[in-house]
């Protein structure tokens, strides 16, 4: 397999884009990434998206976005892996270039959630779970996360408030990110006071419903141009676990997250201690904790204790959600995995501004779908 590089990155601000649909959002991110790379055409487009069919009534996003972004007649298709769709699209683009099938490919993650009202979004998000044995029994996506959180609290003795540092850190980092949805900081008291949406999960545990798109241009070493500030994709790995939570061998070990991280570390020859930052799938604070433990950054059951000591803040042992994460930058579900890559690439290029992790050389990103039924992990290297 050939080495592959990210040579262009683009994104739209995350938020409620009442005037923009899937095609405008996707095309804007793709064009921004192409401009950043100084490239006008690509061999292939991979479009990560979760809810186009369920919420927007629009499938065939490959053709829609290739057309909208002026990339016809490039090969294009949608990549769907629930909330990990963006990460999966980046991996597919990287694979196609690594395999020598394409020289230049673009991956975009795009989601348009605000066209639907909240209970329709709840139904849409639940399509990531087991339709016959979870969603059809009234289990919302948040409720499934709440089952994980309740058991984690039971086994570790943690309280709801112990999860606060993840949300506080994400909001603090989003303040300096012009593309973030929530740029106001929150306090531990704000967290404790936030209403519960699916007890024990509160509003400030959860990432928001929103719109956005992010894209990266990926090419081979042969296609690199002198002007490129390239970031190498040192590894891209994916794995799966049971679709339903009830089938998991160990509820509090996200097996797919752990396996994909192990594969990514093995392929890159790197280890958790080599990482300068971690863009985690912080859709809910409990998922952040479980992802940190699955990737080997902290032992099982220790994530909250480390968080209380500031381990995951800027300047801590492993800076987390450095541009606000899903929690505060926002979580347009199928786009979030691509935002993680765009933000990690900015860190490795030294372009993260106020949020820059000094001297960042290695970044880990992990995109998780369906409460850990699917996970995609990338190791990026400056």
């Amino acid at each position: 397999m050939r080495d592959v590089f990210i040579v262009g990155a683009g994104q739209t601000p995350v938020g409620e884009h009442w005037g923009l649909g899937l095609r405008e959002l996707g095309a804007a991110a793709i064009r921004a990434a192409l401009d950043d790379a100084g490239i006008e055409s690509v061999d292939a487009l991979f479009a990560g998206n979760m809810l186009g069919g369920a919420v927007n009534g629009q499938e065939n996003l490959g053709a829609l976005l290739a057309d909208a972004a002026g990339l016809l007649p490039a090969e294009a298709c949608k990549v769907e892996a629930a909330c990990a769709s963006g990460g999966a699209a980046v991996r597919m683009a990287a694979l196609s270039v690594a395999a020598g099938v394409h020289d230049v490919a673009v991956a975009v993650g795009v989601e348009k959630m605000t066209d639907a009202v909240s209970d329709q979004i709840t139904v849409g998000l639940a399509t990531a779970s087991d339709g016959d044995y979870e969603a059809s029994h009234g289990l919302s996506f948040i409720a499934l996360s709440a089952l994980l959180m309740r058991r984690y609290m039971h086994e570790t003795g943690a309280s709801r408030e112990d999860f606060a540092p993840f949300a506080v850190n994400a909001h603090r980092n989003a303040a300096a990110n012009v593309n973030a949805m929530f740029r106001a900081p929150i306090s531990g008291e704000d967290f404790a006071r936030s209403p519960q949406v699916a007890a024990p999960i509160g509003v400030l545990d959860a990432a928001p419903v929103c719109d956005g798109a992010a894209a990266v241009v990926i090419c081979s070493r042969e296609a690199l141009l002198p002007a490129h500030r390239a970031v190498r994709i040192a590894a891209a790995a994916a794995a799966t676990d049971t679709i339903g939570l009830a089938g998991r061998a160990d509820l509090l070990t996200l097996g797919a997250a752990r396996r994909s991280a192990e594969k990514a570390f093995a392929a890159s020859g790197l280890a958790p201690q080599d990482c300068d930052l971690f863009e985690a799938h912080d859709a809910f604070t409990i998922i952040t904790a479980l992802s940190l433990e699955a990737c080997g950054f902290v032992p099982r059951g220790e994530a909250l204790k480390r968080a209380a000591h500031g381990c995951f803040a800027r300047g801590g042992c492993i800076p987390l959600s450095t541009c606000g994460g899903l929690k505060a930058r926002g979580h347009p579900v199928g786009a979030s995995g691509a935002y993680q890559i765009v933000e990690a690439a900015a860190q490795l290029r030294g372009e993260a501004g106020t949020n820059q992790v000094p001297g960042a050389r290695v970044a880990l990103t992990q995109s998780i779908g369906g409460h850990g039924s699917i996970a995609v992990t990338h190791v990026l290297e400056a």
């Binding site: 709840t122 009234g138 289990l139 709440a146």
Partner: protein, 134 residues
């Protein structure tokens, strides 16, 4: 839930019917076409007792379209050693705790609009013996 799908699911929904592997004896719910333990292909119908304990639980305050809340949901560990995800019923949310004995009952899951059919299926309530004792 559309009618053909509901029809297909009535055995597990009404009777908690899963599968038992004829090779290794492992029991499974939901039903599987092959054994997740030994990869055996010979499976037979196995009806679970419906008795178990709460492994984890949560309260749904914002129900999905087609459901009316709030209601409690749980992971239930059946006595046969299999875990099931379901709603809890006939219980005060404040009384639910991990380890609580529960039993399966058949209840209304969803309504297909004001003139449509009703989808019934399993939920779990505090075990009757437990309730009488308290």
């Amino acid at each position: 839930m559309d009618l053909p799908r509901y029809h297909r699911l009535t055995a597990p929904y009404y009777r908690l019917e899963g599968r038992r592997c004829k090779g290794c004896g492992a029991v499974h719910f939901p039903p599987r076409v092959d054994c997740g333990s030994c990869r055996g292909r010979e499976m037979e119908v196995y009806r679970f007792s419906g008795r178990g304990t709460v492994y984890s639980f949560a309260e749904v305050a914002q129900p999905p379209q087609g459901f009316s809340g709030p209601y409690m949901v749980a992971l239930v560990d059946l006595v046969e050693g299999v875990r099931v995800t379901a709603q809890l019923t006939d219980v005060d949310p404040d009384d639910v705790e991990i380890g609580m004995p529960v039993e399966m009952v058949t209840r209304r899951l969803q309504e297909k609009g004001p003139h449509g059919y009703i989808v019934y299926g399993y939920k779990f309530r505090p075990a009757l013996a437990q309730r009488q004792a308290s």
